[in-house]
Symmetry: C2
Subunit: 398 residues, 2 copies
């Protein structure tokens, strides 16, 4: 007030309506939803994505087309950002490490991302840090599994996971016999014990550069009774309080051990004996946290932003119960997308469709999601079922 | 499913991830918050605003700089839209009427907007339609008020309102004496009886092209005890159920009578005798509805979009209680904005700042707002007071 320039915020940078720039590697739907939060706070963004038609093209301050795995592209892009974050794991790690050396803040840190990017390294990290996870064996090539079976080491059935570039269920397969095994690509992989579990759970953890850490309530993936496909993500999970507590503790432990900055989505198994095992993690906003946009005091995207910019973390409590349904392209349809019956689901209470902004549908492509919130969880769950029965992601012509 | 092209939605247009374009006249903060919803649904937008630095520049699919009052500019812009809406009332009405004649859907309809744009016409409309409002006199020029006072017609005190281009409290003044009167511009105006009121209330009404209509809970404007300035917008208003009912009924009646399509924000007085009088209306999303972004099942911007696109209206119930605080530029500061202590309010539960995206602050400029939500209204109200005490919108240098 004395006419001199003064430092006016507790943090050293003025992020809001300023020249500060957040760089985001990846311009898909997770980035798009993150941009909703940067717009709300008026924080400038630069986004890099290989596709000219990425969902983040609109809503970012600067959008660049480029290969996320190319060293030089990531270097040049990263140098124009004050803080760099990701919305997809498969980015050039060497470039991130070099950018960190140049003093750019990279969140998640390159080291954490390196542990996560390779599933074999990830598993090794869990065993090294006494984080409960399913027993597994590591193989340099899938072909080595056959040798191990012949020698009586490996046994059917098991869960095969490609070590690299697994994303959204790609690169994971339950192997029950020789034929299953032969269908797999010959790559670095792990073979995990097939654990009978009661529930698949997930916890979103946020950790900021200052070390402040916070977890969201546990969500439950409800599977289709026959199709073995996740149908609903339910918050809060319908589990005992002690299981909830244990799951959140394990998730927090992983985030701290791994030195994460930003969100960490921790997928968990609740075994028949109510043990909690870590399945895998993602160092970014995650499908299992989408309920938070309508359901939580602070949604996961705002929370990621708070964590990577060093703001205080937001409250993770729920305003009300939430159930999330994914919108994926219907089998047999390909081409310009039509959301059949969307106007019918818009008429239901507490139903919010999120359309990711992809003009073309194809079978199983992630096109959007729908959140149902209600003060009563079972009502939300019932409405979610109606939503699932009504809406279909198809194309104008089959 | 038979291989033939099929009409797949109940409405005739496919709005989502399609070539459909919503035109928006005005690119300020209301437009910016509307764009959050068009992004969520992936509906293409074109925005027209006179400023190259308007908040809507980012987040719209196409942004054009141009004069909203210029006939030719609005015509050319409007022709490129399938549906045209506004985020500010002061637009060229002749152009809108001509666009309607050409078959473009203009919501609010030109006729409704015409009634609202001129405050004298608006008042006349209320009396013609037996909508309760404060008694008033109409003057072609402010100078005529002096004549009327001399003749014993008009008496002090009264509320002077400019008939045209009143916006956000501009063009409104309480006139208590000759000196007050002399300070006013000599324009078309009304002189309204100064009504002693208990509360200033507001109701957001949504009405769609199909005639579906819905109101939000009544909000209450809480004034600073000394400064006579709105400090908090509170939802739900702390009023008796019968007053709530009457206020919503009056608001619905105005929207229907005026033939609105889209939102109508109805500002009301609750008199000492619990009468409800209409103060004035705005045919668009409104400051008094900002609580709905975090507080309601359907926020006012999504609701406006639903109404103008002909979707079913969303549920207007509250998830929890909400209190809204405006962020305006502090007196004595001008220049690049700094949100002092924003990191402190980010640490409070249920607090969400919305930063409108204006790089320069000046005294009383609307720079953002903060919403506080909580399951308990009085807790939200207390936190809002802490927010107001902490945050200041200042500049780097005074």
């Amino acid at each position: 007030m004395n006419g001199l320039p003064k430092k006016t915020t507790g943090t050293s940078t003025n992020f809001f309506s300023s020249d500060f720039k957040l760089g985001i590697l990846g311009g898909g739907q997770l980035g798009k939803m993150l941009l909703q939060e940067t717009r709300k706070f008026d924080i400038q963004t630069r986004v890099l994505d290989p596709s000219e038609e990425a969902p983040c093209k609109v809503g970012s301050d600067y959008f660049e087309v480029g290969d996320l795995m190319d060293y030089q592209t990531v270097m040049e892009f990263g140098r124009k950002a004050d803080v760099l974050t990701i919305e997809i794991e498969n980015v050039n790690l060497d470039a991130l490490a070099a950018l960190e050396d140049e003093g750019i803040k990279v969140y998640p840190p390159t080291k954490s991302l390196g542990i996560i990017q390779n599933k074999a390294t990830q598993k090794l990290f869990y065993t090294d840090h006494e984080i409960p996870t399913a027993p597994y064996s590591r193989y340099a090539y899938t072909s080595e599994i056959a040798d191990s079976i012949r020698n009586g080491g490996q046994e059917f059935p098991f869960v095969w996971k490609s070590a690299r570039f697994g994303y959204d269920g790609q690169g994971v397969k339950i192997v029950r016999n020789e034929a299953d095994l032969k269908s797999l690509p010959n790559v670095e992989c792990i073979a995990e014990e097939l654990i009978p579990f009661k529930n698949e759970l997930a916890v979103i953890v946020a950790r900021s550069a200052s070390g402040e850490i916070s977890s969201y309530p546990v969500v439950e993936m409800e599977f289709h009774p026959e199709a073995n496909q996740v149908e609903y993500v339910i918050c809060p999970a319908r589990i005992a309080p002690e299981v909830e507590k244990k799951a959140r503790e394990v998730a927090l432990r992983v985030s701290e051990a791994i030195g994460q900055v930003g969100l960490l989505a921790v997928e968990l198994f609740q075994t028949e004996e109510d043990e909690i095992l870590v399945n895998e993690v993602a160092p970014r906003p995650h499908n299992s946290g989408h309920f938070s946009i309508e359901g939580s005091f602070t949604n996961q995207f705002e929370q990621h932003l708070r964590a990577v910019l060093g703001f205080p973390l937001g409250n993770t409590d729920s305003k009300l119960a939430g159930v999330m349904v994914n919108l994926v392209g219907e089998e047999g349809y390909q081409g310009p997308v039509v959301y059949e019956n969307i106007e019918k689901i818009l008429a239901m209470k507490g139903v919010t469709p999120h359309i990711y902004g992809k003009r073309l549908t194809r079978p199983f492509r992630k096109m959007g999601h729908v959140t149902v919130v209600n003060h009563d969880l079972s009502t939300a769950r019932e409405i979610a079922e109606e939503v699932k029965q009504k809406i279909r992601v198809i194309s104008k012509e089959k």
